[in-house]
């Protein structure tokens, strides 16, 4: 089966035998984007979270056939060193990661949340950011999520002033 994906803004076409192959393995093993992590393989921990058409999904449980023709954003496409996404910037400023393995999933989930809820309350965070971090970095993540919201708001405000 031929699948077309727009991954981080670039059209990619992949040939795959099993259309039910998790999107995670296409992203990691075929497209060689290793930022998205495998954690539990049963949609529980959220380490594999990425965006499909701007919605956060658990890619270990997302058959690649459903992604055909859609926009995929991975942690590599969220931002870069020169132009980090507010979530990435806040994560660095708050020194959130410990081992770091689960962090891309948390950041993708947070970026999806900020699109829907620009200024999330603690309750919004509790409900929407339900990934699992075995290092227990939740406290720093909460601070970083609030900071990311501030950075995003400031960025949006600056952009609208420039227009």
């Amino acid at each position: 089966m031929e699948i077309s994906l727009i991954v981080n803004g670039v059209l990619k076409t992949v040939h795959i035998e099993d259309e039910n192959t998790p999107l995670l393995w296409v992203i990691r093993d075929i497209l060689d984007l290793k930022g998205t992590k495998f954690g539990c393989g049963k949609s529980a921990c959220g380490a594999c979270t990425l965006h499909v058409d701007d919605e956060a999904v658990r890619s270990c449980s997302y058959p690649v056939k459903f992604a055909d023709g859609k926009r995929i954003t991975t942690i590599e496409g969220l931002g870069d060193r020169e132009n980090p996404h507010p979530v990435q910037q806040a994560w660095v400023e708050e020194i959130v990661p410990q081992c770091g393995y689960c962090q891309p999933g948390f950041m993708m989930a947070t970026a999806a949340l900020l699109k829907k809820v620009p200024k999330p309350t603690d309750e919004d965070i509790d409900k929407n950011i339900i990934n699992v971090c075995r290092c227990g970095t939740y406290y720093r993540m909460r601070k970083a999520i609030h900071k990311a919201a501030e950075i995003q708001t400031e960025k949006d405000s600056n952009e609208s002033n420039m227009v």
């Binding site: 039910n20 998790p22 393989g41 049963k42 949609s43 529980a44 919605e55 956060a56 999904v57 658990r58 270990c60 449980s61 997302y62 058959p63 459903f66 989930a109 999806a112 949340l113 699109k115 829907k116 809820v117 919004d124 509790d126 409900k127 929407n128 950011i129 339900i130």
Partner: protein, 203 residues
């Protein structure tokens, strides 16, 4: 001669009256005709078959009364704090579709079906008796303003309802249990129950 005739007539009449009284039907011995009996038992049986399905975990887990979906045969609260949210599909950025797709996932064990979501809060069945469930089912103020015809269609054709018979495997690769009544028997039971007036037996 005339007196003898009267005597015989009275004797026969008395015997007739006694026989008639002895064989007259009594209320407590009343029995339905065979065809009536089978009709009522069919309806009652249909009701119970239907309720055997509606009260099974595959249905009940998504008809909670506390806004929290349940999982598994033990009906434990959905992991990760998932709850109804504003539109029965979870929260703004993390919702049913973050994990559940339009079909079961045989690799991850995550179940899926079209329009995966909780039943509306008005259709919460958890903890209710069969009769109370039936009342909620029939009440237009709680059933989404559905008529009997629309209810039959929903219960016998909706992909999410019928998912109960194709629930796939769980995260350990073990087949989920299915309701104790076959899909075809459930459909028949629903149709028979409604065709007989959707009578709730305990009422």
């Amino acid at each position: 001669m005339k007196l003898k005739t009267w005597f015989i007539f009275l004797a026969i009449s008395s015997i007739g009256v006694l026989l008639a009284l002895a064989n007259s039907p009594k209320i407590f011995e009343y029995r339905l005709l065979e065809n009536q009996q089978s009709e009522i038992y069919k309806s009652d049986d249909a009701y119970n078959k239907m309720m055997d399905v509606l009260t099974h975990q595959r249905c009940m887990n998504c008809h909670p009364n506390d806004n929290i979906p349940k999982q598994g045969n033990d009906r434990h609260p959905h992991y990760f704090g998932m709850a109804r949210g504003e539109d029965n599909k979870g929260f703004q950025a993390t919702n049913c579709n973050t994990c559940h797709n339009s079909e079961n996932n045989k690799y991850s064990g995550v179940p899926g079906a079209p329009h995966w979501s909780l039943a509306p809060a008005s259709m919460g069945w958890e903890g209710l008796s069969r009769a109370q469930i039936a009342e909620r089912l029939l009440d237009k103020s709680t059933n989404g303003n559905r008529s009997h015809v629309e209810l039959i269609k929903h219960m016998t054709e909706d992909d999410l309802v019928l998912w109960a018979w194709q629930p796939g495997v769980d995260a350990e690769g073990v087949q989920r249990t299915i309701p104790p009544v076959s899909k075809e028997d459930f459909k028949k039971a629903v149709e028979i129950w409604f065709a007989n007036g959707a009578v709730i037996p305990t009422k």
